[in-house]
Symmetry: C2
Subunit: 312 residues, 2 copies
Amino acid sequence: MVIAIDMMGGDFAPLEAVKGVLQYFSQENAPAYLTLIGDQSTIQQLLTENNVSFDRVKVIHADQVIGMHEHPTKALKEKQQSSIAIGFQLLASGKADAFISAGNTGAMLVGTLFIIKALEGVLRPTISTIIPKENGGTGLLLDVGLNADCKPEQLNQFAVMGSIYAQLILGIDTPRVGLINVGEEEGKGNLLAQAAYPLLKENKQVNFIGNIEGRDILMDKADVMVCEGFTGNILLKFAESLYEVSQKKQIKDEYFERFNFETYGGTPILGVAKPVVIGHGISKAKAFRNMILVAQKMLEKDVLGKMKEALQ
Amino acid sequence: MVIAIDMMGGDFAPLEAVKGVLQYFSQENAPAYLTLIGDQSTIQQLLTENNVSFDRVKVIHADQVIGMHEHPTKALKEKQQSSIAIGFQLLASGKADAFISAGNTGAMLVGTLFIIKALEGVLRPTISTIIPKENGGTGLLLDVGLNADCKPEQLNQFAVMGSIYAQLILGIDTPRVGLINVGEEEGKGNLLAQAAYPLLKENKQVNFIGNIEGRDILMDKADVMVCEGFTGNILLKFAESLYEVSQKKQIKDEYFERFNFETYGGTPILGVAKPVVIGHGISKAKAFRNMILVAQKMLEKDVLGKMKEALQ
């Protein structure tokens, strides 16, 4: 398998990306070949300095970089020689099997949706986030911002895609799906949640446990937590701020350390034809290594193939 | 001023309610006369035992109690002799100027909306919550659940009502109003947020600072944070769970103590004709005292009159 990496994306590129590559290869199980996209001489020099062996690594030169604050559509169109544009070319042409970047999130989303496209049968792709559970477990929250307005059928599909991801990547058997809502009883909620509930209840492909409330999100209630991307995005960023708060207050608790999302290694876009993993701008070596691992697992377990099968 | 109190509402009624009354009168500035509604002999005995003087207190007997889990509309209709029903009768007839309860929230909302009714000019009343800010300050989040689906004009009114409350009750001069959204720039968001933004921007009655994100909610960015009741309710309950988490993890930080919402003393319903304050079911003495103080301040500062004026 070949995983392409945008070496120029993120606040600490390309050094931390190189270190992430090194961390990846220093593991026992590192079956992927990596295609590193970016400024060739800089990357090669960093590889040499960091003693990364060249036999599993290929460097492809990119003349341009899409900045973190550039307009996504415009930049992707105009900067054909950027590391992100080249990554999508490699992925679309089959020269890479997955693509990873911690660069301009918008450009990554635009490239994924318009160059790689949605899986057949998927109404709208979605992005998710890991939610650290108070009991030490891990939950999945989706959508976290790709779809600010949703239809009930989309939430139903998010539940299926989230369940497959939770099972195959997070290793949760028969993940419990909860619909994020303002009350526990069926019939509660806004119009969207009211309409999504019966769809989820009748969906044989998921283990639907009913509505969950805001107070259940950090608790061991549901593994896959479904909502539209407006609420999900606000919850994600609220959760991220807990790490910042714990740092400011000098609260040394490992639970709050887990809200440091930079360590998780990025969010795959679910429901698209090929694995694309988007990392946080502040990604460091560990995050890059984890992103490579997520892409590797998604390929090994054919996560997207399973989603296609389930939603056709 | 006469404040009516449902002595039978909440998990620790009527003892903690009596203690709250005692705490209220042990302050220097306690101008209100209190009408205590509930089981007369029990309350009178508790008043005597706790040395509450009778000259500023009147007890009105209620034969019935609406349980915490009864159906709100049905219970309020059928239990005319319940403490909550009697409270609304006193308020509606002018025998009380404000009404407080830590009992069945649904019944309190139904009573407020259908017996007391919305202020003239108010599209929909709203409930808010205090949000402890990381820097020690206090923010106001609204709506937190009364209106799961909203129109842009409602969010615009929430901003006005929230600003008046923040100024007169929380003592924040020219409160900064933020629209909770998925990004900072104008044009971001779901259809509701996109449509609400220009209304807020042009609203001369509020100090609108633009969109705020999930990461800004605990930070010193906006004082009044506006969203529909779906997102707001989920955020409120998520925030409440932080206290639970900090207890479980034995994190002794006074910031997380502030997420113990039972100490705040209830949420007034904004945009209704008369002050109604709804407390948490787990309210103890301090919470009851604080609820009385909120009602007192709302009357002293004519908060609802100011809202009516602003929204006509």
